[in-house]
């Protein structure tokens, strides 16, 4: 579904990513783990069109989308839940969700709004409240729901559990499981590596802008040599 080959992205003269290749198959949950500054956010940004790669290609559903704008990528069926959620704090929960469905017809949007209420009951209670007043967990659910409003075929999430209380982290991983059951393909950046490896079908380990290992969750979990270098557990 998503094929990234030899992707290099630079900030000025510094390479944040060096010839990164990865693939995500339809229906898969793929994890992307690695220490801070490894280039995980840069990689998602380069795929989603926020950053222009120097070299390499991004192919989404058989179409070359290298360097396409974010609005084009979204229309192609790929959504990104950005780092730090970036919900629109001055807009209400409902307005945030509507913006998520901006590319769809009014009827489809209303249908998806109902779906989101079922999927995230907590949001229904805060429907008309400015999103800036939501708690961290609620805001994260809103960020994910907002991305789902576009009915993406592939959803990428950047650190969805960051800054959340443990019970809310459970909620995020529950949600990932539920999305998998619904057949949504997911690519997730997580700092909670062990948890991510258990939840994903396959994972890539990124370090200093280079993919240093990949395999199924179990395979990577077994390689303690890799693990000790960047996380404690």
């Amino acid at each position: 579904m998503l094929e990234v080959v030899g992707l290099t992205t630079k900030y000025g003269s510094i390479s944040a990513l060096r010839e990164v290749s990865l693939s995500v198959g339809a229906g898969e949950v793929v994890g992307l783990i690695g220490p801070n500054g490894a280039g995980k956010t840069t990689l998602l940004g380069s795929i989603a069109g926020l950053l222009q790669p120097e070299a390499g290609t991004v192919t989404f559903e058989g179409i070359d989308t290298t360097g396409a704008s974010p609005e084009k990528m979204l229309r192609a069926g790929l959504a990104l839940v950005p780092e730090h959620r970036r919900i629109f704090t001055d807009m209400t929960v409902e307005e945030n969700l509507k913006i998520g469905g901006v590319t769809r017809s009014a009827a489809e949007r209303s249908e998806s709004l109902i779906e989101m209420v079922e999927l995230f009951p907590v949001l229904a209670k805060k429907w008309d409240i400015a999103a800036g007043f939501l708690s961290g967990g609620e805001a994260q659910q809103l960020a994910i729901a907002r991305a789902l409003m576009a009915r993406p075929r592939l959803i990428m999430m950047d650190e969805p559990s960051l800054g959340l209380a443990p019970i809310l982290v459970d909620l995020v991983f529950d949600l990932i499981d539920r999305l998998r059951e619904k057949g949504t393909t997911t690519l997730i950046v997580e700092q909670n590596a062990t948890r991510m490896l258990h939840a994903s079908d396959r994972a890539y380990l990124l370090r200093s802008g280079v993919i240093v290992a990949d395999g199924t969750g179990d395979e990577l979990l077994a390689r303690t040599d890799l693990f000790d270098t960047f996380v404690g557990g």
Partner: protein
């Protein structure tokens, strides 16, 4: 008491026009981070459209829609010809571009039309008044206030209830994230220029009715009022811009009536002095907007 009410009405009439101008400035600043010193060009062009059509003996009822159309069209053209080429550039480049547009437009009128002031007739009712008790109200002020209230309500509806409005607000809050949601940067920026051109058009209709004349730099004064009011309100805040417009109008009228006769014609200077002092205490304006990240 009557005098205060009288000044209030006058000030609101004047402030209404400033509010419409400031709102247009704020809409553009929101989506592009551009402080648009070319915001008056819509009124400059409208002035010549008014002159040209009134010279042909056309009625103001026909001239009003012509002015609105000319203003929107000018706004779209300025975006297409100038601002679309510097999109995403740093704020200073955008600012200089807007100055450039301002000078080019007025130079074109000096070169190809005339450098001098040209007069046209206002509508017949421009100096009519009516009384409520001992309060004397100009029909003009009442019309300006009424139309402005309707325009602000319509704009609020547009921003709150339509997908275009939501996209505009989302883009103003965080352009990159809005694009991630599928908001097209092209359409939202062009839409912002249409909206801002329309608001300037309404302000322009009233400005020109009262001025009764046009010059190649006729847009400078309304532009300065609009930019100033937007700054007073807090750049980026739409509500602030409207408040800033009304505040500026009221301040001008109240000062003019309070200042002793000898220095009443220095009102403008006093207004600027007060604004300068205001900015010392509230550099962010009336409503401070959290700075959205720019990439």
């Amino acid at each position: 008491m009557v005098e205060i009410l009288q000044n209030l009405v006058d000030g609101l009439g004047r402030g209404s026009i400033y509010a419409l101008l400031a709102l247009g400035v704020a809409v553009i600043f929101g989506v592009m981070h551009l402080l648009n010193f070319a915001h008056g060009e819509m009124i400059t062009v409208s002035g010549y459209v008014a002159l040209w059509s009134l010279d042909r003996g056309w009625s103001w009822y026909l001239v009003v829609p012509l002015i609105l159309a000319a203003s929107v069209l000018t706004s779209i053209l300025i975006e297409r010809i100038a601002f679309s080429r510097v999109r995403g550039a740093d704020d200073f480049t955008l600012l200089l571009t807007s100055f450039g547009v301002h000078f080019v437009v007025s130079s074109l009128f000096i070169l190809y039309v005339s450098a001098s002031v040209q007069n046209f007739r206002g509508p017949g009712w421009i100096h009519d008044t009516f009384s409520i008790g001992s309060l004397k109200i100009e029909v003009f002020d009442a019309t300006v206030i009424g139309v402005t209230v309707l325009t602000l309500l319509a704009t609020t509806w547009l921003l709150q209830r339509t997908m275009f409005g939501l996209s505009l607000r989302a883009a103003a809050a965080d352009f990159d994230t809005a694009r991630l949601m599928g908001v097209k940067s092209d359409s939202v920026i062009r839409g912002a220029f249409v909206l801002s051109g329309f608001l300037a058009g309404i302000a322009g209709v009233f400005w020109l009715m009262r001025a009764g004349s046009t010059t190649p730099s006729g847009g400078t004064d309304p532009m300065l009022k609009g930019v100033l009011a937007a700054l007073i309100g807090g750049l980026g805040s739409l509500r602030g811009a409207v408040l800033g417009g009304f505040a500026l109008g009221l301040a001008e009228v109240l000062l003019r009536s309070w200042l002793p006769d000898g220095i009443a014609n220095l009102t403008e200077g006093f207004v600027f002095a007060i604004i300068a002092i205001f900015f010392i205490f509230r550099p962010g304006g009336l409503i401070t907007v959290a700075k959205a990240e720019r990439v």
